[in-house]
Symmetry: C2
Subunit: 764 residues, 2 copies
């Protein structure tokens, strides 16, 4: 871990260019708008180490799974997030020499992401091998207002004389994924074409047959005045470009404004793609850079109004939390219920798939408090729409009668991960899907969601649990064999406490919800049970299993799994420093049999179901498990941070916060070059708002129990609650609440009522 | 399973040609001589479904491992058995049309393997598309006398007229492995050349850089008289051929005798390869087909003299046991201690590697009783030579101080398998390595082997066990976490009874052997302990662990692992027929949590250490586990058969025998097309000799306790014992022993002494 970037409250700044950190910076300086995005690559050619990445949400390729010996029930493919047509490129020549920062003397270099408005700026002064000293000012954004639009402004001056500048904006469909399992090329070229001065590249994915059209047009300006130049067109095999050339006098500036449209067959008829792209470009040209930029800025201003967290006392923490929120918001905007929150968002291609249990466990709480209700609801509906596939998935594993197993990794509802050892038996995710519904309803009180969509999902998942357990004649209880819990440093264990817990809770919540729907939506209830052939025998079975579930426990410690106490129990602090992180230094074999825990497991369960346990139980288990936890999952510290806050362990909570908040900015796990850890960013937000803020929702009511770390003076966060943003400001002495509408709020379990547009100040 | 081949005591016969079974037949009709071998492919072109396979023992390629996410300690490569230069090929044209059985009308077709002499015959009469009716008589063998020599005789006549026959013997180095992980080509062409009328192809493997030279020469005969014809040479990119052409009158026969030499840099200097090959061919030509054939036949006659098992009462059983013995003997001859017994021998390319624990657990007992002692000793020395690599292997997993973990799959001592789920944690193999030494000494009383080689291996393996266990504060005993037992339908379990057992036994046997070497080879002992830094603390630790090992047990059942009784225990007979075999019909997930056992696990341990248990214990555990066992490993039925014989369960023993003996001949597992199950063939032999014969060795003494299945009248087997073959004939009433030298023998635990060249007959 090292500090490389400059800390500013609203900006991420890289000053000076370190070639060895270029992939890292490309990840950090990624931009997106929920529909498309790209890494912080350079417009001009760059021959140094880089990973070009341009992504389109929901466009994927089913890469053949890479396993030693494929067995029944294994996923047939790994859904790869696709690197798609590179639309960023602008080749620059000065007096015939190509600009390439890899062979220039760099005099000044600055990359700057302005998170307040979602714009990436880059300026540099370099001396080219031909001795021309060049200055470039570039800026880009992926429009939050127009989903299919990217805009680039690229301005070049020669500082030490006159010269001939050649500018070649291009689109390049000759892209590949670095993580292709078999080094396959995933795209088929479907031709290039031009309409007026607009150029288009058409590609189609193999197998999945997503058609994409990427279009570009551009305007040239000399010292900000439009300049018409003859264009030389070039096109070949997925590549298309237009070249213009101009004499530029010393200190004149030649600027190109490039408009890009990306459209796909996900949203349009295949035959219409070029037409739609052409229209997008036409409209963008009409608006011009400034209007487009303003629209985009306004969107971001609007987003921050309800989602900003302000921290006084630490610029580093302030920058970090905004970086996390910024990335959540540019990865998923919630307007398309077919999309979800991929683990790398638009910042890299690793891991594949777009949906993990992270969505329900981490992201839904974030969106519930920062965005309109329907954003979270769309994430729930996403799963509802994939229920049939989840039932098929369970059938492939031998389950019957409408039992559903939602996938660990998916793009379209099918299971699509790449490995057995960790992922396959993590069936606990099935419970998280239901917990997402529960979380949503606790916050919104939209119980009708159960009747509308929720109950079918609940019953299907509970059917799975009821079949997945078996009755142990030995224990005279129901057991669950052969699972992997959230702690992926154990595999194929019996009676993982967390999994048994969330299975039991799933069954109970399903039984409650059945009652509620039956009582409140009689007709709909009949419709559902007849559609899915649900019987009263199943109610009995659910009840029987829920009431007789086995949980490993000893002396008040909930055991992670059967046999956990047979291990050689070693505190993480007693490991040799050179062994850390263990996943880079120990054999997998050794990790599995060690007592080291990757991420919250029993504690994850206690966090989800906190009301079921006393503070003493919380404390005892926290003190047992936290010292055994290496936090080598990006999802771990946040949960521990929240629990530590709750237990009043402010220092521990702050330590955990630091591990999660600057994970990518300080490259904590030394893997940010692959892309940012998007879903864990929601966890970071949780560790502030649910952790330090102590925010909980129960039955639609809002509870706050703040704990402020010593390092901070105070912090503010705004929350969308029943469609009314309220602002919470906490410091070591007070909570101050600013509400738009009249409402109740519980502060340290005491109820207060605030009038509309009133401010409430409560001493702590 | 279906009967396709004709049953004869000494022959495997296929009559008529079924294209859909061609790959199966190619496997069955494979030939080898321990150094090289080939599948039963056709000499002439064949455009139908086939898998060409020509293999050279010890020549392999390190194919990049195919795993989803590579983790520390995973093997970096999977050692592939290589398909090498195809030397069988003889292209035939008649009146310009190429002979290809895929487009002929087939009037007669017969493939016949004569196991007595190791020769494959093929005759067929076909009508070619050009209406020429052709008769072919072909025979081939891989010389048991000359390791590097293959010989083919191919005779063709035209039955319905005269014609021009064109014969093109060739060598083709353009071969690939069907099971290449990434569809890579493993060979580099190193050029072709000719000396006189001999042609050579030189290849080199990528990475491992094995150089091979394959040479051919041939003679042509018309009606058995030598015929000199002009030869047209052709060579290009790894391919070389010579074409001759002759008018053949109706009912004349044109014969080509092709000699092939295969030499590699494993045995010769790279620069000498062509020279050696040329000499091999020169000598073969001088001898001619008949002399070469006779040498080869004599060798086989000699092999059968000491290894034949004769069964009266069942031709099917008779053929099957000979097929098993034949394949063992042609796979491994024991003259090269760098070689071992690959799972497919020379019959296919699947699984890779050449050495599994099968060698020690199954093959050593076979060779000990059928071949000279040094054959088995070479198999032990093979592991001794790889001890350093086994120590490195353990170091990669985090073990220290000279602890050794022998690989699960290897070619050169390095671990080189392809998957995690099953293979990786099967550390029990480490015990089998020691059990091989123990078996060898029990039979030969060559205890000096311990001083010479054995003790170093014993201590290194025991060091591994002493580190691999940990002390459980919960159980107050040593436990072994995270292992996979022989039953590969469980993965990553705790306290697998078999593994704990063989670990405990390893430690005890090591301690005993330390004492013996210390007392009997004082100087050598000092040399060893100083070489490996062995201390008395380690003796203490070994003793402590061996005396305090935990074993899961309940009511006299030794539990396969912790928690086994939590499973839903279901007898295999109660499964639906359509679920069998479960590995083709159930998800891996379901298999793992089921109570189904793939192969003997607890019972394997009881078989190895039978003296530690009462007959009651044997019976109780057999009756518990056998009904749970699906026998989906080819190694399973034989162990159950032996135990059943011992327990007097003759019918069960016979049922088990039938499952193992004709596994490949009747294609029981529907996968013989990939190659034959070579190592399990030793198990088949064991189920007869150790099972029905009840043969045991204890401290050099021979014990027999026969049980003859009802279906058989009697059987004979010959055993090499202290270098003197004795012949044992058992029927339902008598044991008859025919000994060359004076010796003692225990029949049903009663001691008998037989004079030299005497026959002893004992009533049962």
């Amino acid at each position: 871990m090292e500090k490389y970037l400059i800390e500013q409250p609203w900006k991420i700044v890289e000053e000076g260019f370190d070639k060895t950190k270029n992939r890292f910076s490309e990840s950090i300086f990624s931009l997106g708008n929920g529909f498309m995005g790209l890494r912080g690559n350079f417009e001009e050619n760059y021959s140094g180490d880089k990973m070009n990445g341009t992504y389109l949400a929901g466009v994927y390729y089913p890469d053949k799974t890479r396993v030693g010996w494929w067995k029944n029930g294994y996923p047939e493919y790994f859904a790869k997030v696709l690197n798609s047509t590179n639309w960023l490129g602008i080749e620059i020549k000065v007096d015939g020499d190509t600009l390439d920062l890899n062979d220039c003397e760099i005099k000044e270099f600055k990359r700057e992401l302005d998170m307040k408005c979602g714009i990436l700026y880059r300026t540099f002064i370099v001396v080219m091998p031909n001795k021309k000293e060049i200055k470039v000012n570039a800026s880009r954004f992926v429009s939050m207002e127009r989903n299919e639009l990217g805009v680039i402004s690229y301005e070049i001056s020669i500082l030490n004389g006159d010269g001939k500048v050649t500018v070649t904006p291009y689109l390049d469909g000759n892209v590949h994924n670095e993580d292709s399992n078999y080094d396959e090329y995933f795209w088929v070229h479907e031709g290039e074409n031009s309409i007026n001065d607009r150029s288009f590249v058409n590609l189609k994915t193999k197998k999945t047959e997503f058609y994409t059209n990427t279009g570009m047009s551009f305007h040239i300006y000399m010292d900000d005045s439009p300049l018409e130049l003859p264009r030389e067109n070039n096109q070949k095999g997925g590549f298309i470009s237009q070249t213009v050339e101009s004499e530029v006098k010393q200190n004149q500036s030649l600027k190109v404004v490039k408009y890009v449209s990306c459209v796909t067959s996900r949203d349009h008829e295949i035959t219409d793609l070029t037409k739609v792209s052409n229209k997008n470009l036409e409209e963008a040209e009409k608006s011009g850079y400034t209007i487009l930029e303003n629209e985009h800025k306004n969107r971001w201003e609007h987003i921050w109004e309800t989602s900003d967290v302000q921290i006084e006392g630490s610029e580093s923490a302030q920058q970090a939390i905004r970086f996390n929120i910024f990335n959540m918001m540019q990865t998923y905007t919630g307007v398309d219920s077919r999309l979800n929150i991929g683990p790398k968002g638009f910042t890299g291609e690793k891991y594949g798939g777009s949906t993990y249990w992270d969505t329900e466990a981490y992201c839904i709480p974030f969106y519930l408090s920062t965005s309109a209700e329907d954003i979270s609801k769309n994430l729930l509906i996403y799963r509802y729409k994939q229920l049939d596939k989840a039932i098929e998935n369970a059938e492939k594993l031998g389950f019957t009668g409408g039992a559903a197993l939602f996938p660990m990794v998916t793009m379209n509802g099918e299971e699509c991960h790449n490995e057995w050892e960790i992922t396959f038996e993590e069936i606990h995710r099935n419970g998280a899907i239901l917990y997402g519904i529960y979380t949503y309803i606790q916050k919104t009180m939209d119980k009708d969601y159960l009747a509308q969509y929720g109950l079918e999902v609940l019953i299907a998942v509970s059917r799975f649990w009821a079949q997945r357990v078996n009755y142990s004649n030995e224990k005279k209880q129901y057991v669950m064999l052969g699972v992997t819990g959230p702690n992926e440093y154990e595999n194929n264990v019996n009676n993982n406490w967390y999994t048994n817990k969330i299975a039991q809770w799933s069954l109970k919540y399903t039984l409650e919800s059945i009652k509620w729907v039956k009582n409140n939506h009689k007709n709909r209830y009949q419709e559902i049970i007849s559609k899915i052939n649900f019987t009263s025998d199943e109610v009995k079975k659910f009840t029987e299993v829920a009431n007789n579930m086995y949980f490993p426990e000893k002396d008040g410690i909930f055991l992670q799994q059967d046999g956990f106490l047979d291990k050689d129990i070693v505190n993480v602090d007693d490991l040799k420093p050179e062994d850390r992180p263990i996943n880079q230094n120990w054999s997998w074999d050794r990790i599995l049999r060690s007592s080291c825990i990757k991420q919250a497991d029993v504690l994850q369960g206690m966090y989800f179901f906190e009301d079921q346990f006393t503070t003493e139980e919380h404390l005892k288990n926290f003190k047992f498990y936290e010292p055994l936890t290496v936090h080598e999952s990006s999802l771990s510290p946040c949960v521990h941070g929240i629990l530590a806050s709750k237990l009043g362990l402010a220092d521990k909570a702050y330590e955990m916060y630091l591990r999660t908040a600057r994970l990518d900015l300080d490259n904590y796990n030394n893997d940010t070059e692959d892309g940012c850890h998007i879903t864990s960013m929601a966890g970071t937000w949780m560790s502030i708002v649910h952790g330090f803020g102590g925010l909980r929702y129960k039955e639609g009511e809002m509870f706050l129990s703040p704990t402020i770390p010593n390092a901070w003076d105070s912090y503010n966060f705004k929350i969308i609650d029943k469609n009314s943003p309220i602002s919470v400001h906490v410091n070591k002495k007070h909570v101050t609440i600013d509400a738009e509408l009249e409402r109740d709020i519980f502060i340290n379990n005491k109820k207060y009522t605030i009038g509309p547009k009133e401010v409430l100040k409560v001493n702590l």
